[in-house]
Symmetry: C2
Subunit: 212 residues, 2 copies
Amino acid sequence: MSKVFVNIGLSLDGYMAPEGMAIENWDRPDYKDWGAKWGAMMSWVLKLQYFRENLKFGPGGETGQVNDMFRYTMERSGASIMGKRMFEQGEISWPEEAPFHTPLYVLTHEKREPWVRPGGTTFYFVNDGPESALEQARESAGDRDIRISGGANVIQQYLNLGVIDELEIAQAPVMFGRGQRLFDNLREPVPQFRIDKVVDSPTATHLRYVRE
Amino acid sequence: MSKVFVNIGLSLDGYMAPEGMAIENWDRPDYKDWGAKWGAMMSWVLKLQYFRENLKFGPGGETGQVNDMFRYTMERSGASIMGKRMFEQGEISWPEEAPFHTPLYVLTHEKREPWVRPGGTTFYFVNDGPESALEQARESAGDRDIRISGGANVIQQYLNLGVIDELEIAQAPVMFGRGQRLFDNLREPVPQFRIDKVVDSPTATHLRYVRE
């Protein structure tokens, strides 16, 4: 059966996004320095060969173990689920050929027809909650896995549902001070994980946890 | 010159202590399950040979790289600084020969004469703030290093002073849901670190960060 997994960048102090990183500040990344902070946290991915290729940034980029892990993450994903804010930020940032090539389910109250992008990415807008989105994602993922993309509050909803099988965190040595915490609003019984794998690099520690 | 360092256990969700772990619940570790939660987070240290020896728990215990790291942490410490709550919890928990064998500086509003324990541990009660405590610790540490022991709010004070040279975190694959967060109340400019070393083990990921 498909695994449900999270694969995200995280600051050392536990934030997925710095304070100020919001759609209304998209054109001013110097607001509370959110652009530089987010860039520092994600520097490990921005330079990967497969990331560059997938976003059509051109040739070149780092190869090796982390690049292979990143490629595997993209290739194993048969469907993804994301929140409304993450979608809205992507909607104005992704290239026309959005870099997913799978169905994506967006949790939102907005009613909207599916948004079909060239290259096999289709966004479906789900109005009846995270369990329904997961069910739809399972159906379309087939043998592949389901990625809970974010943001933090969407991941928290799925942690609270107890359905996250694998938690993959690229922990960057960067402190934000304030922002969107990954681990917040969790309810008892809090899900428990074991360490499955740790890959060290200078720009991030890649921590893989599997549900107990 | 002496380095100022932190060496702590941390839950995967960023807590140094679970909700309910407080002096008034010391005799009821089942309150909000704090005893089991804390024990799970610290399981990596409780079984180490050097920890057992130092606390006179008897012979045996795990040897190897993590045990050597733990011994080095204890041996490099020429003085430590801790908060009042951490001290009060230790005061009723440590054996008569407290396991430090150095001067310790306790940040508190309480006026109290130094408390001398057998085996070279003396607690000094500092009423004039974290900078004064650090100055006194520097004087007594000599060539050795200064450990900021905790709790979370004391570490936060020293992070905000920008004086922490090394941040050593044993990140356990345990989720608390609620408790005392390590990274909270930080002020701009937030201190920045680089990854110095990562040691993987099944019970904790030992992350060592050094100030940029």
